[in-house]
């Protein structure tokens, strides 16, 4: 298991949460002003545009989810200061009310209150420059690991991710949970086949009922689209590769949750009420599932991969973890934690997990991840109904 120090240096926020970054962000509250946000953010190298495909005309549950996510992103613990851009004055008023108690430098502008694009861009850039000055007065302070929430993700899976990257992540997750912190895993459909181990990992029968119902519903949706998973997995190719049972195959991804118990099921973007390990019910496309976990307040993503996957998120560092030496050689400038020496017999899984734990500590204290360097990632909020 990985060992964590007693504290890390983070940015304390007035709501009790702690940032691992102090990002300057320009939030586009509706896609109509995405371009405005990009042009304003381009004026400062540190600024990040948070421009999703936030739309009008969504049906009620989708509109509520989108609004929750957008608000959560603007006040994410990694945000040091935010400029929120709206289209109309009424929305801007609502945003000003929402942000009044956010405890961080912020400003809200409505495009309809500007006079031409040139002036609108200049107004935004002036506001952003002021916010940039203000956010710099915040310093890192000793913070407990109980303030940390990890997002857990995997993609480009191969035997090395199942045997090295994901189990190493699981050991780090155990250490964070033991320190009183939290971790969120998502992509419900990936848990199909691992129901028995998941049940055994649940803190109570009620938690097990919630998780298993979500997994069964995801399998049901897959079957409605004519895709069968149970009965055809492991495939002949999987069996040739050494996978014997469906549980074994599914555990390759589930291994990244570690060995502590699940505290509950979360909806997309829902913040955990108490610390612990959670399953968030999300689609499996990683830019979408990561959006949900970041909206819930996760400050950092641990991403296990076999072949390369360019996922990330503009609001949280993503640590790319890889145990495949060929992938590491080809994507050396885009992978953070190289655990491929396990495959060469040069390190045990425990030693690799120790190294990953040390890397996590360096990253929460400011070490730039490759995904940050390449500005990888985007925001995708799922919709369940046809918009009006």
């Amino acid at each position: 298991m990985a060992v964590l120090p007693s504290h890390f240096l983070g940015f304390p926020r007035s709501d009790g949460r702690v940032g691992v970054r102090n990002y300057l962000v320009v939030v586009s509250a509706v896609a109509l002003v995405n371009r405005w946000a990009e042009l304003i953010a381009a004026s400062l190298p540190d600024a990040r545009a948070i421009a999703g495909e936030f739309m009008r005309g969504l049906r009620k549950p989708d509109a509520a989810r989108q609004a929750r996510v957008c608000e959560a992103l603007a006040t994410h613990p990694n945000v040091g200061a935010c400029l929120v851009l709206c289209h109309d004055a009424a929305s801007a008023r609502l945003w000003r009310e929402y942000l009044a108690d956010c405890g961080r430098p912020h400003a809200v502008l409505a495009l309809m209150e500007q006079n031409g694009m040139e002036a609108a861009i200049q107004a935004g850039q002036r506001a952003l420059a002021q916010l940039d000055e203000m956010r710099r007065s915040v310093a890192r302070q000793r913070s407990p690991f109980s303030a940390l929430t990890l997002a857990l993700e995997c993609g480009g899976s191969d035997p090395t991710s199942a045997l090295i990257a994901n189990p190493a992540i699981g050991r780090v997750v155990d250490a964070v949970i033991d320190a009183g912190g939290s971790a969120i895993v998502s992509e419900t459909v990936e848990f199909v086949g691992a129901e028995a181990p998941v049940r055994a990992l649940c803190r109570s029968p009620r938690v097990a009922k919630d998780l298993l119902a979500a997994i069964a519903a995801a399998e049901q949706r897959m079957e409605e689209d004519g895709e069968r998973y149970r009965g055809v997995n492991p495939t002949a190719e999987n069996i040739e590769a050494g996978l014997t049972t469906l549980v074994e195959k599914s555990m390759g991804a589930v291994a990244k949750v570690g060995s502590r118990s699940f505290a509950g099921l979360l909806e997309f973007g829902e913040k955990p009420a108490t610390p612990g390990l959670y399953l968030m019910d999300t689609p499996f496309f990683s830019p979408c599932s990561i959006t949900g976990m970041i909206a819930a307040g996760a400050q950092l993503t641990l991403f296990g991969m076999g072949v390369f996957n360019p996922s990330g998120n503009p609001l949280a560092p993503t640590v790319k973890v890889c145990g495949n030496p060929m992938t590491v050689a080809r994507w050396n400038d885009a992978i953070d934690a190289d655990l491929s020496d396990v495959l060469a017999g040069g390190a045990t899984l425990d030693q690799a997990a120790q190294r990953l734990g040390a890397f996590l500590v360096e990253t929460v204290e400011g070490r730039e991840t490759r995904a940050e360097r390449w500005r990888e990632g985007q925001f995708i909020v799922p919709k369940t109904l046809t918009p009006l």
Binding site: G242, L243, T244, T245, E248, V254, S259, L343, G345
Partner: protein, 83 residues
């Protein structure tokens, strides 16, 4: 480590199988000294101790299946003796 021993990974301390991570199918020892059957391919499992018929096969710290035959320590564990 010597090249005479096979590289392998025990994913969880509770496991009763390990997974070999090399192509050394001609070697008869695992790193750590356990005797291993010849010919187990990359990514396949080996019993770390005898597993009686009906006992769970444990990998990732969970039962991934049950032994359908008695499995000797060092034997290849796969669809022929686990389901």
């Amino acid at each position: 480590m010597t090249p005479q021993e096979r590289i392998h990974v025990v994913v969880d301390p509770r496991d009763n199988v390990t997974t070999v991570l090399d192509q050394g199918t001609g070697l008869d020892r695992l790193q750590g000294g356990l005797e291993v059957a010849l010919g187990v391919p990359f990514g396949h499992k080996v019993a770390l101790r005898p597993i009686a018929r009906g006992e769970p096969v444990i990998k990732y710290g969970v039962a991934i299946g049950r032994a359908t035959h008695d499995i000797a320590s060092g034997a290849h564990v796969h669809v022929h003796n686990c389901a």
